[in-house]
C-alpha cells in the first residue's frame, strides 16, 4: 500500500500506483473518487504498446503530483531515449499534463495510448465488495470518451478529453505522433467527474459538475499564513506542525450545503465524508490555530440536525448526524447515510464545541444563531438518549440491518467488553458519553446565562450537571480497582475493563477531584501507557490485542484529549510526558500521525508499529499535534485574555507560537522544556 500515490481535494481524490496508472478491481481502493463514487477504475498509459517505469514521484502539493517515467518494464537496465512526465492535479475530477521528451538524435514515431474505464463503484462497494445494479454506457464522440452509469434517474458520468486531438475508441484514447530529435510532445488530458442532476448547483441542461476549488495554491498559502507561526529548537516539532496544517487543508471539504465554507472530512481513503464526531473533535483540536473550521462545522451540523423519529436513519429530534454520504447505496437507501444519525456522542459534543468556540472567538452571533439547535441538542440528552430511564445516555440501534452497534468513538463490534472478554447486551451506557453530557450541560448553562439570557435554563442545567456528576462518581467507580468502568450494561451492571476512556472523563471534568490521582496513575501506568501513548484497552484485559482496532492500539487523537484532561486536573508533567510520546511517534511517520498504531511496549519495538489498515491522513490524527501544542503551552482563554502556562518536556527545548488568533486579536505564547519526563513517569 505504501507506494500508492494519493492526491486529494476535499471530497475528490485520486489513488494510483507510482507510475500514475490505475488498475482497480472491485475490492481495490485505487481510482478517481468523487462524492463517494469511483469515476475511473482504469487509467493506463502505454507508449508503443509498452508500459512505463517509474523513476521518481514528486508530491508537489496535496492536490498535485508529478510522475517521471521511462518506457519499458525491465527493472535492471533502462534505455532512456525517451522521458515521460505526467503531472496530475485534482479538482472536479483531475487534469493530467502528459509530456514526452525525445533525447535521441533521431526522430521517433510513437503510438501513445491511454486506456480508460470506470466501474462507478460506490465507496462502500469497494470497501465491502458488492455488485452493481445499474447499466453502463460508453460513447466515443467528438474526440471525447464518455463513460456513463445509470440506475433509474441516478446517473454519473466521466468525460475524458484531450487538448491534442486523439483517436477515441471505447477503450481509450490514442495519439500517433512524431517527435523530432531532442524535441518534445505534450497534451493535456481532462477527466471530468459529473453527476447527472445531482444536488449541487445545476446548470441549464441538468448536467452538473461536482464542486471543486479554484486557485488552490493561493488558498493553501492563505491558510498557512493565517495560522500561528511556530519557532522551536525542535525541527521535528516544526515539521510535524507544518505537515498537520497542510494535511488539515487537504482534508477540508465544502459540502454542497456549506457554500464555500469548509469543514474537516474524516480521513483518506474511506472517510472523505461529513462525520459529526470527527468534525467536532478535529475542530476542537484546531480551535487555537484555525478557528474557521469550528464555525463551519457547527453551522453545517446544525443545518442537518435531526428533526424526525426515523428508525432507518436512527434519527431523533435534536440529534447531530453521524455520517453523510452521496453515493449510490445511500441514494437508493441500501445504506442509511442520508444522513445517518447513529452516534451517541456528537450531540453533547456539538454543545461543547459551540461553547469552546465562543470562549476563543467571542463570536456570540453564532451562539445566538444556533440557539435553537443547541437547545434541541441539550434536550436530546434527556428526552431521547436516556434509553434505560436511569439518567444516563445509552445507545441501542433501531436500524438493526445497516445501523451501527457501537455508537461511541470506539465503534467496532468488540470494542466494549467486560474484563473477562464477554460482550455486554444493549443498551450500553459507555462512560465517556456521561462525561460529554456533563460538559455539555455545564457549558450550555454558561451560554444560556451569557448569550441567550435564560437564567432559568442555566440554573436547571447546572443542577442537572451536578446531579449527573454525583451519580456518575457513585455508579461507574470501581472501588477496588480505583478507576471508572467502561460502561453500564443493559442491567445497569459495571462493564469492568480498564480503558483509555478514563482520560476523556478527565477532559470532561466529571471526575471527582478526590478520584483524579488514582485515574491518572492508571492512565500513565504500565497497563495503559505504552511509552508512546495510552492504549485503548489495558494490557491484561480479556480482549487486549496490541493490534486490535479499539482493543489495544494507541490512537493519537485519543491521547491528545487525554493530555488535555490531564492538564485540566493539574497533572502538567504527565500531560507533557504523553505529548512527548505521541510527538516522538509522529517523527517516525514523517509528521503524519496515522489513525492508530500498535500498543506494543515502546522499549520492546523501539518504533511505533502502524495499524495495518489505518486511514492516513486522518483528520483527528492530523489535529493531534495541534491540541498537544495547546496543552503543552497551557493555552486557555480567560475572559478576554489568553492564559499561557507552559509545561514542556525537556527534549523539545524552546517553543514559540506566534500570532494565536482569538477574541484578544493575536497574541504570542512562549515556553521552554523544563520537565524531565522520565522523572514524571516514575512519580505516577
Amino acid at each position: 500500500m505504501s507506494d500508492l500515490i494519493q492526491i486529494l481535494d476535499g471530497n475528490t481524490f485520486v489513488v494510483s500506483d507510482d507510475r500514475g496508472d490505475i488498475e482497480a478491481s472491485l475490492t481495490d481502493p485505487t481510482g478517481l473518487f468523487s462524492y463517494d463514487t469511483r469515476f475511473l477504475s482504469r487509467w493506463v498509459l502505454t507508449i508503443n504498446g509498452q508500459r512505463l517505469n517509474a523513476l521518481s514521484t514528486d508530491d508537489l502539493q496535496y492536490f498535485e503530483t508529478r510522475f517521471f517515467l521511462v518506457p519499458g518494464t525491465g527493472t535492471v537496465y533502462v534505455d532512456s531515449k525517451l522521458s515521460v512526465i505526467r503531472q496530475r492535479a485534482v479538482g472536479q475530477g483531475f487534469s493530467e499534463d502528459l509530456t514526452i521528451l525525445n533525447h535521441d538524435e533521431k526522430p521517433v514515431q510513437l503510438t501513445i495510448r491511454i486506456e480508460a474505464a470506470s466501474d462507478f463503484a460506490d465507496l462502500f462497494e469497494v470497501k465491502d465488495a458488492l455488485e452493481k445494479k445499474g447499466t453502463y454506457k460508453t460513447t466515443a464522440r467528438d474526440g471525447k470518451l464518455v463513460l456513463e452509469y445509470k440506475r433509474d434517474a441516478f446517473g454519473r458520468a466521466t468525460v475524458i478529453s484531450s487538448s491534442v486531438p486523439a483517436r477515441v475508441d471505447k477503450g481509450g484514447l490514442t495519439f500517433k505522433t512524431r517527435i523530432d530529435p531532442h524535441g518534445e510532445w505534450e497534451t493535456r488530458l481532462d477527466v471530468a467527474a459529473s453527476a447527472i442532476s445531482a444536488i449541487p448547483d445545476s446548470n441549464d441542461n441538468g448536467r452538473v459538475r461536482m464542486p471543486g476549488r479554484k486557485s488552490k495554491a493561493a488558498e493553501l498559502d492563505r491558510w498557512l499564513r493565517e495560522a500561528p507561526r511556530i519557532e522551536s529548537d525542535s525541527d521535528s516539532l516544526k515539521a510535524t506542525y507544518r505537515r498537520s496544517l497542510v494535511d488539515l487543508a487537504a482534508l477540508r471539504f465544502s459540502p454542497p450545503i456549506a457554500g464555500n465554507r469548509s469543514l474537516p472530512a474524516a480521513g483518506l481513503p474511506w472517510f472523505m465524508a461529513m462525520f459529526g464526531r470527527d468534525s467536532i473533535f478535529t475542530s476542537l483540536q484546531a480551535l487555537p490555530f484555525t478557528p474557521e473550521l469550528a464555525a463551519t462545522t457547527l453551522k453545517a451540523l446544525g443545518e442537518w440536525q435531526g428533526s424526525r423519529v426515523d428508525d432507518f436513519r436512527d434519527e431523533d429530534p435534536g440529534r447531530i448526524l453521524h455520517e453523510l454520504r452521496y453515493g449510490e447505496l445511500a441514494a437508493f437507501e441500501e445504506r442509511p447515510h442520508t444522513p445517518y444519525y447513529g452516534n451517541a456522542d456528537a450531540t453533547p459534543l456539538f454543545v461543547v464545541l459551540l461553547d469552546e468556540y465562543e470562549r476563543w472567538s467571542g463570536d456570540r452571533k453564532l451562539v445566538r444563531d444556533l440557539e435553537y439547535e443547541a437547545r434541541a441538542a441539550l434536550n436530546w440528552i434527556d428526552e431521547y438518549a436516556d434509553l434505560q430511564g436511569n439518567g444516563y445516555i445509552s445507545y441501542k440501534r433501531r436500524n438493526e440491518k445497516t445501523g451501527l452497534e457501537n455508537q461511541c468513538w470506539k465503534d467496532s463490534w468488540d470494542s466494549i467488553s467486560f474484563s473477562d472478554g464477554h460482550l455486554p447486551g444493549f443498551p450500553r451506557a459507555t462512560c465517556e458519553l456521561q462525561g460529554y453530557a456533563f460538559d455539555a450541560k455545564t457549558r450550555g448553562a454558561r451560554l444560556a446565562r451569557l448569550v441567550w439570557k435564560d437564567e432559568q435554563l442555566a440554573q436547571q442545567l447546572e443542577k442537572e450537571a451536578a446531579d449527573l456528576k454525583r451519580r456518575f462518581n457513585r455508579d461507574f467507580w470501581i472501588e477496588d480497582g480505583e478507576y471508572f468502568a467502561l460502561a453500564l450494561d443493559e442491567n445497569g451492571n459495571q462493564v469492568d475493563s480498564l480503558t483509555s476512556n478514563n482520560g476523556h472523563l478527565l477532559w470532561s471534568g466529571i471526575v471527582d477531584k478526590s478520584k483524579a490521582k488514582a485515574v491518572v496513575r492508571h492512565l500513565m501506568g504500565r497497563r495503559l501507557f505504552s511509552g508512546w501513548g495510552v492504549r485503548t484497552l489495558a494490557e491484561g484485559e480479556g480482549r487486549y490485542n496490541p493490534i486490535g482496532y479499539h482493543v489495544g492500539t494507541v490512537w493519537p487523537f485519543d491521547c491528545s484529549f487525554i493530555a488535555w484532561g490531564l492538564r485540566r486536573y493539574g497533572f502538567k508533567e504527565e500531560a507533557a510526558r504523553l505529548a512527548a510520546g505521541i510527538l516522538d511517534a509522529a517523527e517516525f511517520f514523517d509528521g503524519r500521525l496515522p489513525e492508530a498504531f500498535g500498543g506494543y511496549e515502546r522499549s520492546v519495538t523501539r518504533y511505533p508499529v502502524q495499524y495495518p489498515t489505518a486511514c492516513s491522513p486522518q483528520a483527528w490524527s492530523t489535529g493531534t499535534p495541534l491540541l498537544l501544542l495547546r496543552t503543552m503551552l497551557g493555552l486557555d482563554p480567560l475572559g478576554e485574555h489568553l492564559v499561557v502556562d507552559p509545561a514542556l518536556p525537556k527534549g523539545i527545548g524552546m517553543v514559540a507560537l506566534l500570532d494565536i488568533p482569538g477574541r484578544w486579536g493575536r497574541v504570542d505564547a512562549f515556553g521552554r522544556g523544563r520537565i524531565d519526563i522520565e522523572r514524571a513517569l516514575a512519580n505516577t
Binding site: 434517474a153 442532476s197 449541487p200 457554500g259 443545518e303 428533526s307 424526525r308 423519529v309
Partner: protein
C-alpha cells in the same frame, strides 16, 4: 394535487411562523409535475415568518419533482435528500434552503415499536 403536499404546505402557511427557520431568509419554488402539468408553490421565509402561495415570483432555490414523489416526502414516507441523490428531485440555486425546509417534513410512519 396530492393531499399530503397540500396539507403540509398549507399547514406551514397557516402557522405563519417556524422557530426552526428564524435564522433563515429566502424563497423556495416548488415545481411539482403531474401528467405534463406543473403546479407551482412559492414558500417565502423571512426570519421564521413563512408565506405560502401559488404566486409567480423570484426564488432563491428551485425544486423540481414529480407531484407523487413530493406527496410521499410531505407525508414522511420518502426522504428528500435521498431522492435528490437519486436524481428524482432536482434542486437548483441555494440548496441550503431545501436542507432547512426538509427538517420540517414529518417522521416516516413507524412500522412497530419494540
Amino acid at each position: 394535487m396530492g393531499a399530503a403536499t397540500t396539507e403540509f404546505l398549507e399547514g406551514l402557511g397557516n402557522r405563519g411562523h417556524e422557530q426552526l427557520l428564524e435564522t433563515t431568509t429566502g424563497t423556495v419554488r416548488l415545481d411539482l409535475t403531474k401528467n405534463g402539468k406543473v403546479e407551482r408553490w412559492l414558500v417565502t421565509i423571512d426570519k421564521g415568518d413563512v408565506d405560502v402561495s401559488h404566486r409567480r415570483g423570484v426564488s432563491d432555490c428551485t425544486v423540481i419533482a414529480a407531484a407523487e414523489l413530493f406527496d410521499r416526502i410531505a407525508s414522511g414516507e420518502a426522504n428528500a435528500f435521498a431522492a435528490a441523490l437519486r436524481g428524482e428531485l432536482i434542486v437548483g440555486g441555494d440548496t441550503k434552503l431545501l436542507v432547512r425546509l426538509q427538517r420540517l417534513f414529518p417522521s416516516p410512519p413507524r412500522k412497530k415499536r419494540r
